[in-house]
């Protein structure tokens, strides 16, 4: 097994609110090997985007460690962190609101170079911008267009170009295809996979869409209310989901086959509030197998077969 490029240990992010502490990310640990993709799935509000942002220190973590090639980046000075960000980039969900409407495609892509590579000649910058536009499949003639003139797929390509021009090693993809139509979504997914192979990138792919995550990820982590419920490689999690939440989530995907009659697990109620969560398992209020001990203590992530699961059903060995 190769060394993990990124290792997250006991990461916590709490936001103070009027009604109490909001536990957005609560003790999350995982690692990503170099050149691989970890898919982080969960429903809205489960803390998946916050996790991505805390790793890049766009939010400061409340507690925990983020080791990048063995070095805890949460302890870096702002100056060292700026240098680090060259290697760690992010692509945002909404290509409509994450691009400055008053900047042309060329200046949008060039912007990151201006910030990070002072002293680079403008001819060199231009060469780099055009090269990256070729790489992500943006036609060169669009260099002087503005974001509003382009469709969602092209805008997302700008977002990818902006992230990749600094030649990063690690990219957080925060719902990069959720705002796109299926056909365009397929184009962008293929592009991301090609780029990964070509540039040996490591991805943290955040999404609520399980079929997309399965397609692109090597490993998948399922998150529920700030905690990891299950972590496994992408085949295992679909073939043999262990955590009751993973099972419900998988069964909820509508299958494009009218003859399929999925055995659907309908979860009762809504996600509980992440503000001052009660002790015990976060999922127990909606879990059909909830036991008395689920209310008492929070299950730890434990290896089970090929997966790592946080559920009392598996910790006692019974099921």
């Amino acid at each position: 097994m190769s060394e993990p490029l990124l290792e997250v240990r006991h990461l916590k992010k709490y936001f103070p609110t009027k009604s109490g502490m909001l536990h957005a990310v609560d003790d999350v640990s995982f690692s990503i090997e170099e050149g691989k993709t970890l898919g982080l799935v969960g429903e809205s509000g489960c803390g998946k985007s916050t996790t991505g942002r805390v790793i890049l220190r766009l939010h400061e973590a409340t507690d925990g460690e983020v080791l990048y090639r063995g070095k805890n980046i949460l302890e870096l000075s702002p100056r060292e962190m700026r240098e680090m960000r060259r290697k760690m980039q992010i692509v945002f969900q909404d290509p409509y609101s994450s691009l400055n409407p008053r900047m042309s495609v060329k200046s949008l892509i060039e912007e990151s170079l201006l910030q990070r590579s002072r002293g680079m000649s403008s001819a060199e910058r231009e060469r780099r911008v055009l090269a990256i536009m070729d790489l992500v499949g943006l036609e060169r003639r669009l260099a002087h267009s503005y974001p509003h003139e382009l469709d969602g797929g092209r805008r997302q390509r700008i977002g990818i170009a902006r992230a990749l021009i600094l030649e990063p090693e690690f990219v957080v993809l925060d719902e990069p295809v959720s705002a796109l139509d299926v056909c365009v979504q397929a184009q962008i997914l293929n592009l991301l996979m090609d780029l990964q192979k070509e540039l040996k990138l490591t991805y943290l792919f955040i999404s609520h869409n399980l079929s997309v995550v399965k397609h692109i990820s090597d490993q998948i982590a399922v998150m529920y209310l700030g905690k990891l419920a299950e972590l496994a490689d992408h085949e295992t999690i679909f073939r043999d989901p262990k955590h009751p939440y993973t099972k419900a989530l998988l069964s909820a995907i509508p299958i494009p086959d009218p003859t399929a009659h999925p055995d659907r697990i309908i979860l009762e109620g809504d996600v509980a509030s992440p503000i001052n969560p009660a002790p015990g398992c976060r999922f127990r209020t909606r879990c059909r197998w909830a036991m008395p001990e689920c209310a008492e203590s929070c299950p730890e992530l434990m290896p089970n077969g090929n997966s790592i699961v946080a559920c009392h059903l598996y910790n006692g060995g019974q099921k």
Binding site: S44, D151, C183, Q185, N190, V212, H215, P254
Partner: protein, 327 residues
């Protein structure tokens, strides 16, 4: 032919300045009684515009219906007076919009919002209406004691349930649902779809389900219309469309969804983008992106080829394509 709902040669345009956006182009469709029809297509295919023109709630200007008829239970809706039309909206045909956060009034209690619909169409006292509103909330799985609460006190899934309760409160015979679960999480989406399936059985109403998710259509609908650039390119029962898609666009649509039950190295993609609606290509609207494009596709509009009673395709290769696929 049934006369429940029939759309004939509908053409709708949006006009802004000198630009004419051709949103819907001579569309023909039918929906039978008790049938659920899925409208599938990408953004800008004209799905919502078609739905809005059935109810005659297109913003005019900029939208303009250039031609066509919408025949509902034997009468042409476009010929009715505004007053007659108002009696149909909500009572006969109701609509569920995509975003439950914006389709509810934030300063009225949900109970009042359901009452509003009931009192508009039925002669009854406020007390009776309130009683019925409570019943409707229970039907969609919300405690009737919450009728006095405001939309912001509900979660997204609950709000969509309220919207469904309003739409169903007058027992419409046709329900148009415009991407009813797109704004919701998968587990909540599963709850709402389950609810809609139950209600459809219980109320026996017809439904038009507008969506871009082929999974949802497979679950809820009887028939599917695949829309592209304001036209229907293929129409058939879900079984026909999912087992034997004939139009190259329909196939491309299926190929571009990652399949959870299969491992794929790469997704097949169609190159290019849907056409600019101000400038729809001559001939078959899909020809610039079609892998099987021939000379005649560029100039001639393909007529519907009927493969059997329910399944038709607008493609010159409809029969051949099928043969090739079976070989």
């Amino acid at each position: 032919m049934n006369d429940f709902l029939r759309i004939e040669d509908l053409t709708v345009e949006y006009r802004s300045g000198r630009r004419h956006v051709h949103a819907v182009n001579s569309l023909d469709l039918q929906v039978g009684e008790g049938e659920a029809l899925g409208f599938v297509g990408e953004t800008g295919a004209g799905k919502t515009t078609t739905a809005l023109s059935i109810l005659r709630i297109l913003p005019n200007p900029p939208a303009k219906v250039l031609s066509g008829k919408v025949i509902f239970k034997g009468q042409d809706l476009f010929q009715l007076s505004e007053r007659e039309m108002r009696a149909i909206r909500g009572e006969e045909i109701a609509m569920i919009f995509q975003d439950p956060m914006t389709s509810l009034d934030p300063v009225k209690t949900v109970g009042d919002q359901i009452c509003e619909m009931i009192q508009l169409h039925q002669r009854c006292s406020k007390k009776e209406a309130w009683q019925k509103a409570g019943d409707m909330l229970e039907t969609v799985g919300i405690d009737r004691n919450r009728a006095g609460e405001y939309p912001h006190q509900f979660s997204g899934g609950m709000k969509q349930r309220v919207v469904i309760a309003i739409a169903l409160s007058c027992r419409p015979s046709l329900l148009i649902a415009d991407e009813p679960t797109t704004a919701l999480d998968v587990t909540i989406q599963a709850q709402i779809l389950e609810l809609m399936k139950d209600l459809k059985k219980q109320y026996q109403s017809s439904m038009i389900m507008i969506t871009h998710d082929l999974g949802i259509v497979a679950e809820i609908c009887d028939n599917v219309a695949i829309m592209y650039a304001g036209c229907v390119l293929e129409y058939g029962s879900v079984f026909e469309i999912y087992k034997d898609p004939r139009h190259p666009y329909t196939r491309a649509l299926f190929d571009s969804i990652p399949d959870v039950n299969r491992d794929q190295e790469r997704l097949k993609v169609i190159n290019g983008l849907p056409p600019d609606p101000t400038d729809i290509p001559a001939g078959c609207p899909f020809h610039p992106r079609c892998p099987h494009c021939m000379e005649r596709c560029k100039t001639e509009k393909p007529e519907a080829v009927h493969l059997n009673e329910t399944h038709w395709v607008k493609c010159f290769l409809a029969r051949e394509e099928g043969r090739r696929a079976h070989e």
